[in-house]
Symmetry: C2
Subunit: 207 residues, 2 copies
Amino acid sequence: MTQEINRKDRILDVAEELFSIHGYDGVSIRQIASAAEVDVALANYYFGKKLDLFQAVFDRRAQLLSDTRQEVLKREQGKQQSLDQVIEAFLLPLKMAQQTGDPGWRNYLALLSYVMTSPIWNKELMGKVFDKRVSEFVAALKEIFPNAQDEKIHWCYHYMSGALALTLAQTGRIDRLSKNRCRSTDFDTAYELMVPFMAAGLREVCG
Amino acid sequence: MTQEINRKDRILDVAEELFSIHGYDGVSIRQIASAAEVDVALANYYFGKKLDLFQAVFDRRAQLLSDTRQEVLKREQGKQQSLDQVIEAFLLPLKMAQQTGDPGWRNYLALLSYVMTSPIWNKELMGKVFDKRVSEFVAALKEIFPNAQDEKIHWCYHYMSGALALTLAQTGRIDRLSKNRCRSTDFDTAYELMVPFMAAGLREVCG
DNA sequence: CACTATATTCAACAACTGTTGAATATACAA
DNA sequence: TTGTATATTCAACAGTTGTTGAATATAGTG
């Protein structure tokens, strides 16, 4: 036996991967069950309806991610941080998730991108867990730029959020455009350059 | 009669809207036909398979958008442009599309966002029409930053592309986070702030 | 052993899916 | 008028969808 993992988790893992690639409507429960080598009815037994399964997949790592983010922000709090440090702290949990080497996390980040960019899922799923942490991040930005208009700060976060979402999606487009000089899977470089890029943009618009 | 539009175009319009919201797998041909007040078989008569219909929807405005982009770039060529001007020229076709006031264009831009962020569709659809213009844009950036590493320029474009994609998606998230101080539908402000933001980021990373 | 809660399978349901071929209608040219 | 190309409808197909209830197995407890 290669790995001793229970069926319930295997269903979650497979669903996570397939949903992240094909989206909610692009995957059937039967496909998930088949890939997980499990009977169709078993997915229903554990998770209920298809929507609940999707929710369960999303929730599993969402809370963990949000908690890490809160922890990092609290740790750095009151330290008179620079703009670069604030941004870095915001990105750190994602960096950590990827650095575990767990392919499940990589799939989840792609799923997160799918949810972030979908007009339907965004409202339903992002609000519950992530919006609170984002508001804290925006508040930290406001402290750094006390004279900036709220709207400008929010638009800047929007740009950063978009850049992040496309990174997490791992579409392979940057590989194609750069003739393989850059890799969609190279999160390290993506984060490393993102920090000074976003900091400069913020200073320009809000400074 | 309120509007005299032929059924073929009406199918395209409806498909464009529904695909942009629910994605390819989230919409059935029957839903499209029903919303277009047309028989199911008629969609097949005009466009063939479902995949061909999706392709037709995507292609209809893609070429127009790419052509406008090329035209703008050519017009501005050899004018010793500033970085801001180059970025503005790149965004101009999208701005123009939105300023027509045609809701169809708005739907299409959301569909474009869906394609840009999907690992599956990206490869298949973005390459044919858009990648060429993007390469020209990246080349223009290289002229401005002749000493910058190729990879850095590509990553910067990646960030810009992500910010753009999330804007086109109109998810409503910025409305929620900013307590309605900002609007997802406010493309004018989004573009206006995006230019200095991206220019500053580029200068920081590539300058 | 018997009892019980959990886990898993099987078979089936009604609804919906994309697609098609034949039948019918419409428009237009000769 | 007739002939013909285009447009539109209708009915049906085989396959897939999410979901469920009953049957069976398994594991753990007394």
